[in-house]
Subunit: 379 residues, 2 copies
């Protein structure tokens, strides 16, 4: 049986583990390393999908959407009835859905974990729900994304060894259940998620177990939860190699340039983050020289673009003074969020494009150094 | 000296006073009758200017912006420094600015009228300001719109004969002062505004006085303030003919199809209204069969477009169920406002296009009848 997704390695960097590849999906090829814009509620916030598809110089191949949110509203049955997520939201390229695990576990006291799954209360009406490996796959099957994620526990970063060990083992058992019920393997590729916190032996245990299941792709979970960069890099140092080289590797929830560049250097292929569009709504621009808060008074009469090195729609057509004007209203003008969302996503899509090019030319490490020097790691 | 604007009559309807024309402006031709989208704060809410320019089948030739708002924030001096309003907001076609009069008079107790002008307090910081005919023109000169409006008093609709008579006479004296200080007549066309409330003799007085000043265009003020349609049509019945036939005629603040169609039938050429974008932000769609509130539960699983007769971007690509999904979030998704703003403006731009075509083919009255029968005058 043909898998929904295959990974093709195009080029390895000579001086690091960085790699240039392409994922073949039912909705087109995805060039890697790739940054995936997030469309939590079946919309990349403040953008038309056609404009998302045109971001950067090469366009966006894949976006992410959220199982948890779509399950609660409008419900996966409605999306299925609409003809699936692609049709519902007018996006004909690849989509990845997360499992809902991360959101459910973020609910803290509002959820309860058992071997069967997680019960939680809806933030909308307080009603009681349960996510299990089986139901997460059922929902993701209804949504119909090209890549779907296993239902895992993203354990708290401060949990102790004993907790992480048990949690990691349960996540592995859950993965087996996900694989068991996922029948649409030709249409949707199920990715496994490695857990194990910051303990090398647990990562090893997890990595071995999930690799044995021979899935079309793997993610490294639980390291993008606000821990210091040393700990993040520390896990990358050993965890990436525990995953098969012939499958795509994904670090979830990473949106800052230095974290992305570190992961790429270690051989990771996929990234996503809500931050670019969230920052946009608060008037924060990501630029080649770090973040810029457009609300600051100094930009009142600044007629230069947000980023003089950027050629996005916003930077080609509008000044900082104009974008600031849009934000400095009693009700900020919607166009302000639109322009900054497009600019910030363009910034990360261009970063991924430049990363790919630098790998092709065996100068990834130089590129990384130059980029971060200018950027100042301000993110 | 060449005027910034000339009006060319292309065709008169055989069976009504409706007329098809074109205004030649420094930023291109404007086909009339025309509906002008409003960009109060130098942005047509929730739309990119390029998307505004492409609305309908023939595109949008002209938009409106607000002197009062831009004066207070970011200030006309900043817009001038930015290279004028066209450049500041990235719009290369024609712009009309109002005089600020309507907004200032809407402040009620917060403003005071003298022969010199109107003092008012800023809604932003409570600071005291004065608008005079001279300062309104100065601000509008700095903004640099193709069409600028005289500073007039839009008297309360319930004011008595004595008040309206005095107010109308003052508005005429103010117009003379506007004309006196407006030197950029080759770049910006100053329109006069007829006042006189619902009194025929006062409209006559006003019409004669302002026509004598030989301005490039004229508006009929003070009839779009929520009065019943009979009173509105009653004024149109005599007021339009009091204005010169070789100049464009403008009724300000009209955005409902029946009011627009009545005005066109009487020989009016220009309209504007904030309503299409305001309705959009509340989930209200204007359709060929009247208004539709997308928040209603009945649209939850309705996979048809907003308006089956509409070929706008939203109706071509999205279902009612999807648009409703965007609005039914804790924080409504920005794309919802974007899609409905585009749809509603498209609806009125198409209405104006169909009006123009019907006049060319001498079937305006039929078109009006058919349109309103289907629409149900529900607006």
């Amino acid at each position: 049986m043909k898998n929904a997704l295959t990974y093709e390695l195009l080029k390895k960097d000579k001086y690091s583990a960085a790699r240039r590849g392409v994922m073949h999906t039912p909705h087109g090829d995805v060039q890697t390393p790739v940054f995936m814009p997030v469309g939590t509620q079946a919309t990349v916030k403040a953008m038309k999908p056609e404009d998302v598809a045109k971001l950067g110089h090469e366009g966006v191949d894949i976006i992410l959407s959220n199982t948890y949110h779509l399950y609660l509203r409008p419900g996966h049955e409605l999306v299925k009835k609409a003809g699936g997520l692609h049709k519902f939201m007018n996006w004909n390229k690849a989509i990845l859905t997360d499992s809902g695990g991360f959101q459910v576990f973020s609910l803290g006291d509002l959820r309860k974990i058992t071997e069967e799954g997680v019960t939680f209360r809806s933030y909308i009406d307080g009603s009681k729900h349960m996510f299990t490996p089986e139901s997460s796959i059922e929902v993701q099957n209804a949504l119909g994304a090209d890549i779907i994620m296993a239902f895992d526990e993203c354990a708290p970063p401060d949990a102790d060894y004993k907790y992480i060990k048990a949690s990691q083992a349960r996540t592995t058992r859950w993965l087996a259940r996900c694989k068991e019920v996922h029948k649409r393997t030709e249409a949707q590729a199920l990715f496994g998620i490695m857990q194990g916190g910051f303990f090398k032996d647990l990562r090893e245990e997890s990595g071995k177990a999930i690799t044995d299941m021979d899935l079309p792709g793997y993610a490294i979970g639980g390291i993008s939860v606000g821990e210091p960069k040393e700990k993040y890099v520390g896990v990358l140092d050993y965890a990436v190699d525990m995953l098969p080289a012939d499958k795509p590797r994904y670090v979830m929830g990473i949106g800052t340039p230095d974290y992305i560049l570190e992961a790429v250097e270690h051989g990771v292929d996929m990234f996503d983050c809500v931050e670019p569009t969230r920052l946009a709504r608060h008037g924060m621009a990501m630029t080649s020289r770090g973040r810029l808060n457009i609300n600051n008074a100094q930009y009142f009469d600044d007629f230069t673009p947000l980023d003089s090195e950027c050629d996005c729609y916003c930077c080609r057509n509008y000044s900082r003074a104009y974008v600031r004007h849009l934000f400095r209203q009693k009700s900020p003008e919607i166009l302000g969020s639109m322009l900054l969302a497009e600019h910030n996503l363009y910034f990360l899509v261009r970063l991924a494009e430049n990363i790919r090019k630098s790998i092709e030319e065996d100068r990834f490490l130089e590129f990384k150094k130059e980029f971060l020097e200018k950027y100042g790691c301000k993110d």
